[in-house]
């Protein structure tokens, strides 16, 4: 069993306007559990920017208790989570919880999970998802996964971690760079660019089994994979015809079909959630800007207009938002555009932002940046008010891609 890697640290800064006060009582039995369930749930909820933890000390409760809700009203909690964790005879763990609406005095239900030790964090994240959905009406993303790349010395590793950055597991280790990981929409496969053969080549990799296969290894450079939402094909950038142009390749492999016909750079394709549109970067106007076109190819229309360097588009799952990196006075900053209006906001105060990727519920963005000269990953709300650092202890961290909702 892998130890819980203390690879990340969550630091929430900024003040949200409306944060729901919630009390998470330490789960009965969690002092003897390898994972402190209530702490994980509380950190998840606080990182969303929509919750504020309330002191829950001195109370011993579990999912079967009838809590004295007046006490929790005095502590200004609107909601209360109680539960238990028990090791079973076969070594697995039984995790149970119940959510209470303190204000209305209502039992909002509960669940139990029977999981191996390695999935205790996953069970905790699912509890956070349940609470988040019950209290906000939106699906939670705490049980999703994030892929990213680290560079330590001359060693490159592709990691798969929980959405809070913990429980990181190496999917690939290589002496050559790895960039541009991209989750398939079923959350089982990662496409990425590996330089292990001294050139950029696109692989597709099943993370649970470790099976990987070459997707694009044509003459020249092969890069920027993006899964179509139906999982049947990927858009990639190939230089096999000269220049960097967009192509579509069947996920099972095969002959690429050219999507763009320009004498300029066309790269960084991403699909809209409905699969009908591809956003991409092109310098056809003289400087890199974001364009969109029909997913089958066709006439692109320009999407970004301010600035002379706009790259790395990411479209939210609800189709409302475009996140991208814009160069502003020599600094590279994460921007968010509301697609319906074209209104743009810069949402960071850092200057080397890269690779934004939306959480599948469209409420958070993960991106890479530099803090005190070190590469770091951050999550932010779309208004930039709540940021959390997923801080690595060893090596530089980059190239995050937020995975889809997990099949339950």
């Amino acid at each position: 069993m892998l130890p819980a890697l203390a690879q990340f640290r969550v630091e929430v800064s900024g003040v949200g306007l409306t944060q729901l006060p919630i009390a998470l009582v330490p789960f009965k039995g969690q002092e003897g559990s390898p994972q402190k369930i209530s702490d994980i749930v509380q950190a998840d909820l606080e990182r969303s920017g929509q919750f504020r933890g309330v002191d829950a000390s001195g109370q011993a409760l579990d999912e079967a208790s009838r809590p004295d809700l007046s006490l929790w009203r005095q502590r200004t909690a609107d909601s209360l989570v109680v539960g238990s964790v028990n090791r079973l005879a076969d070594g697995r763990f039984d995790v149970r919880f119940r959510l209470w609406d303190v204000v209305k005095g209502q039992d909002l239900g509960g669940l139990s999970y029977t999981v191996p030790q390695g999935d205790l964090r996953l069970a905790s994240h699912r509890i956070a998802d349940y609470v988040y959905e019950k209290l906000t009406g939106e699906k939670g993303i705490f049980s999703t996964r994030i892929a990213y790349v680290t560079k330590g010395g001359s060693r490159y590793s592709l990691w798969v971690a929980d959405a809070d950055g913990e429980n990181a597991q190496a999917a690939l280790a290589s002496p050559e760079p790895i960039i541009s990981p991209c989750w398939s929409s079923n959350g089982q496969q990662l496409a990425y660019v590996s330089f292990e053969s001294r050139k950029p080549v696109v692989y597709v990799h099943n993370v649970a089994t470790g099976q990987r296969r070459l997707l694009a290894n044509f003459k020249g450079s092969n890069s920027a994979p993006a899964w179509a939402p139906d999982g049947n094909s990927l858009a990639v950038t190939l230089s096999r015809d000269g220049g960097s142009q967009l192509f579509s390749i069947p996920a099972s492999g095969g002959e690429p079909r050219r999507l763009t016909q320009s004498s300029s750079i066309d790269t960084e394709p991403v699909y809209s959630a409905d699969g009908g549109t591809i956003y991409f970067v092109s310098d056809r106007g003289g400087a890199p800007q974001i364009y969109k076109m029909s997913a089958g190819g066709g006439n692109p229309t320009r999407v970004t207009f301010s600035g002379t360097y706009n790259i790395s588009p990411s479209v939210s799952g609800d189709g409302r938002w475009l996140a991208y990196i814009s160069r502003v006075g020599g600094a590279f900053k994460l921007h968010v555009m509301e697609l319906a209006t074209g209104n743009v906001s810069a949402i960071t105060d850092t200057s080397a932002d890269e690779s934004p990727s939306f959480a599948p519920n469209s409420k958070l963005i993960v991106y890479a940046t530099q803090l005190q000269g070190r590469e770091a990953l951050m999550t932010t709300t779309l208004d930039g008010k709540i940021k959390a650092r997923l801080a690595g202890q060893a090596g530089d961290i980059r190239e995050p891609d937020w995975g889809p909702f997990q099949k339950q």
Partner: protein, 171 residues
Amino acid sequence: MLKRTIYSLAIVALIAGCSSGTKLNETPVTDRSGTAGGQQGASTVAPVTIDPTAGTAQGPIGVERIVYFDYDSYTVKPEFQSLIDGHARFLKANPQRRVSIEGHTDERGGREYNLALGQKRSEAVRRALTLLGVSDSQIEAVSFGKEKPAVTGSGEEVWAQNRRAEIRYTR
């Protein structure tokens, strides 16, 4: 009895499909969790390790093999023409030899866009060689973008050394 009624109502109120856990009620918990795949677990990742590969073959003796570029430039400067000439002569005289031209950028900007910019540099060198009669089949132009700087650090002096295309003989 009151307790049971409250729990039953709560169960009805559960949002369908929000989680795979077993709903808590008065009946014993049964294990139908999709996450309970034995000891393996649903969040397990199988690690893969890649070993170093690809040696480099000897090119023409006494000919430099790195072409440097100006900022935001993708054209081969005249001062590198003799270097190009030397490799072109060697490749034409040795048609079984192959080169990979590896384009690089400085550290500023996005990884994928820099990969495309590095590709412009390697293709500029490829074109310079083919203009001198080298067969296209002997050349592969690729890019490392900003991933493999020759010199680490920041500032124009460092960046100038990293904006380059390296000619590497693969056989």
